[in-house]
């Protein structure tokens, strides 16, 4: 066994046990983000029982009008007439949940008696990142089309739906804040990460450990692993609640997983810098709180940075949480990017490298 791995697993298990038995810490890392997601969700996402769907009629035939009546009869749908460009633009802006396009030729196709067997294609635009909206609309449209096909009693041509996806720029509130809350939770987990070590230093537990062959790298490694485990649990809880309650799905699970690890490790490293400058557990706690609030409110995780006062925007451009939030948003729900994904990753990696060096140099063991 190498010197690093000796004691690593038992110490990590001991850390997790200590953590789980500390009710206060458990509340802040598990219950708090859950409350946040539920609270924000109920405040902002409202009752989405009706979906606003753009209706683009390029055929202008009697058949198209009766088709429209069929859809309008469904109480879940609220149809808005528009031409295709306007409808898609409105959908990008978040004003429409979906767009149905009736291409020219429907009337002629239906009146010509049975010469062709290819179904006539309606086009349906939905946004896959809005899972519940797109799923419901797709189901409803399929049902309506199925009903119409039945009344046509199998006479060709039948109607079919050609699904199209459209990445909307303005996300629903839920889709916007679920990645934000995940980023916030990872940030909090990180900036408070070294508090246990500071407490152990204060109570001379670190001194006692230094009288054993346990390597310092193992001690730090187990502390970081403990935090990563908690980060994984937090991520599952937050993403799970987002999916179940608000229909927010994850577009790129692997990328999100990698970002969760990168984000957690970066903020843990920032937490170690905080611990390097604090003498006692109390002062480390105070310092971590002082750090977390500006991060939370200046990073544009709860509202787009463009909404910030002009003079504050460079601050946001400097803060790591801006980039973690942006990267998680891009990979979880899509939407407008603040920076390209690779920039997000580079900035986070830069913060990680710098803070790692600072804490490796200045962390006090005794």
């Amino acid at each position: 066994m190498s010197r690093f791995t000796r004691g690593l697993l038992p110490l990590t298990i001991a850390n997790v046990k200590s953590y789980v038995r500390d009710r206060g810490a458990l509340f802040w890392t598990i219950a708090f983000p859950v409350l946040f997601v539920v609270l924000f969700g109920s405040l902002f996402s409202g009752g989405t029982t009706k979906f606003t769907v753009g209706w683009v009629d390029q055929d202008q035939s009697a058949a198209a009008t009766s088709l429209r009546q069929g859809f309008a009869a469904v109480s879940l749908l609220d149809l808005k007439d528009a031409n295709q460009d306007d409808a898609l633009a409105q959908m990008r802006d978040g004003k429409l949940d979906a767009v149905i396009v009736v291409p020219a030729g429907l009337g002629t196709a239906l009146s010509s008696t049975g010469s062709t067997s290819t179904p006539f294609q309606l086009i349906l635009y939905t946004d896959p990142s809005k899972q519940s909206a797109s799923g419901t609309v797709q189901q409803v449209v399929a049902q309506v089309v199925g009903g119409i096909n039945q009344t046509l009693s199998g006479k060709p041509p039948e109607l079919a739906v050609q699904p199209q996806t459209l990445q909307t720029q303005n996300l629903t509130n839920a889709a916007y804040f679920v990645p934000s809350i995940l980023a916030m939770a990872l940030m909090q987990l990180g900036v408070f990460a070294a508090i246990p070590l500071v407490a152990q230093r204060e109570k001379q537990i670190l001194k006692r450990l230094s009288a054993t062959p346990l390597a310092r790298s193992t001690l730090v490694g187990s502390n970081v692993f403990t935090r990563l485990l908690i980060a994984v649990v937090q991520t599952l809880i937050i993403v799970g609640i987002g999916a179940v309650l608000f229909g927010v799905s994850v577009l790129q699970p692997l990328a999100v997983a990698a970002l969760v690890v990168l984000g957690a490790v970066t903020f843990v490293s920032i937490g170690y810098v905080i611990a390097s400058y604090a003498r006692t557990e109390d002062s480390a706690n105070t310092l971590a709180s002082v750090v977390q609030f500006p991060l939370m409110f200046l990073s544009g995780i709860f509202f787009p940075i463009a909404f910030m006062p002009q003079w504050l925007q460079p601050v946001a451009a400097f803060l790591p949480l801006t980039y973690l939030g942006d990267a998680l948003r891009q990979t979880m729900v899509g939407g407008a990017a603040y920076a390209p994904l690779y920039i997000d990753v580079l900035v986070l990696a830069g913060w990680l490298a710098v803070t790692f060096l600072i804490s490796a140099r200045y962390f006090r063991w005794q």
Partner: protein, 323 residues
């Protein structure tokens, strides 16, 4: 060449001893200027002995022990522990020593068994958890969280933790502070057993009775320096050739008369007792009784005491309270 022939300055001849220090010095930079916590300290600890470090608060006992354990660095002087340099070979050394710190806390939210198991995982070789639990009387509390232990139980656990790696050299910094008399005696038995098993123990204590009972040799230190070092008997008899004869103070006696009695070297008063130091107990007591008859003070309740380590300690380090 002549230059090569010079003895290297760092070499210490352990000569079979477990610990050798020469001219050990440690200076702390405090607010009130530099504080010399350990000053020019030289000592040797033999294999399989119990060595006691005694001294008033702030004497430098803990600092000395921590330098030997390799968790504190000396500023100058030479140290060899188990033939190793505690700074350079600290990982190797730590596999072989057991350490109980005076002030260290334990992981509060782990149970006794969990904590012992975690510590065992740090070492290449360790003793079974159940053996440690039973040897240190922790059976009843083995599934309790360490934060719920009483002070004495916690103290026993920290000694048990010092034993997890089956060490050949054990450092105990005030191991019996806060223990009830039963627990203290049971720990004495454990420490004596460690010695019987061939292990070496270096301990500090403020209980002189404990040092007399347990330690083969003691060092009395103050202000970072060793004032006296040797077996308890040698230390005591080196300081006090006399015995003390004590009795409840009789107003009719005056010190000038008492000092004239045969073999009396000194007269002292402790609370309401008079103490005569004498080189010949029967002669002094005979004279004292005749003196009593003359002044009408009969049936003096006389007690004879051998001087103790505590007498030497107080003599050497003074009676005034520190810090």
């Amino acid at each position: 060449m002549a230059v090569d022939a010079q003895p290297t300055d760092t070499h210490l001849d352990a000569d079979g001893d477990v610990i050798v220090t020469e001219g050990l010095t440690k200076v702390f930079e405090g607010r009130g200027g530099p504080l010399r916590a350990v000053e020019n300290l030289s000592l040797r600890v033999h294999r399989a002995e119990i060595f006691g470090l005694l001294g008033p608060n702030g004497a430098g006992k803990t600092t000395t022990v921590e330098i030997l354990e390799g968790i504190n660095k000396s500023d100058s002087g030479k140290v060899s522990v188990l033939g190793l340099d505690p700074n350079r070979d600290s990982t190797q050394l730590k596999e072989r020593i057991g350490v109980q710190l005076q002030t260290a806390a334990l992981y509060p939210n782990l149970t006794v068994v969990e904590l012992i198991d975690v510590f065992r995982s740090f070492y290449k070789h360790s003793l079974p958890t159940s053996q440690l639990i039973s040897e240190y009387g922790l059976e009843e509390r083995k599934t309790g969280l360490t934060k719920e232990l009483s002070g004495g139980q916690r103290q026993r656990l920290s000694v048990a933790l010092a034993m997890v790696n089956d060490p050949e050299l054990i450092f105990l910094d005030e191991p019996t502070t806060g223990l009830d008399p039963q627990a203290r005696r049971s720990l004495w038995d454990r420490v004596a057993a460690l010695k019987a098993e061939g292990r070496t123990v270096v301990m500090t204590t403020h209980y002189m009775e404990e040092a007399e009972q347990l330690c083969d040799r003691v060092a009395i230190m103050d202000h970072g320096r060793i004032l006296e070092l040797g077996t308890v008997d040698a230390v005591v008899s080196g300081h006090f050739k006399e015995r003390s004869v004590r009795f409840a103070t009789v107003p009719a006696f005056d010190d000038a008369h008492l000092a004239q009695l045969r073999a009396v070297t000194r007269v002292a008063h402790e609370t309401d007792e008079t103490v005569l130091y004498t080189t010949d107990v029967p002669a002094t007591i005979g004279d004292l009784e005749r003196l009593g008859e003359r002044v009408g003070a009969k049936n003096l309740d006389v007690a004879v005491k051998r001087p103790t380590l505590e007498d030497v300690f107080l003599e050497l380090t003074g009676r005034a309270l520190r810090d």
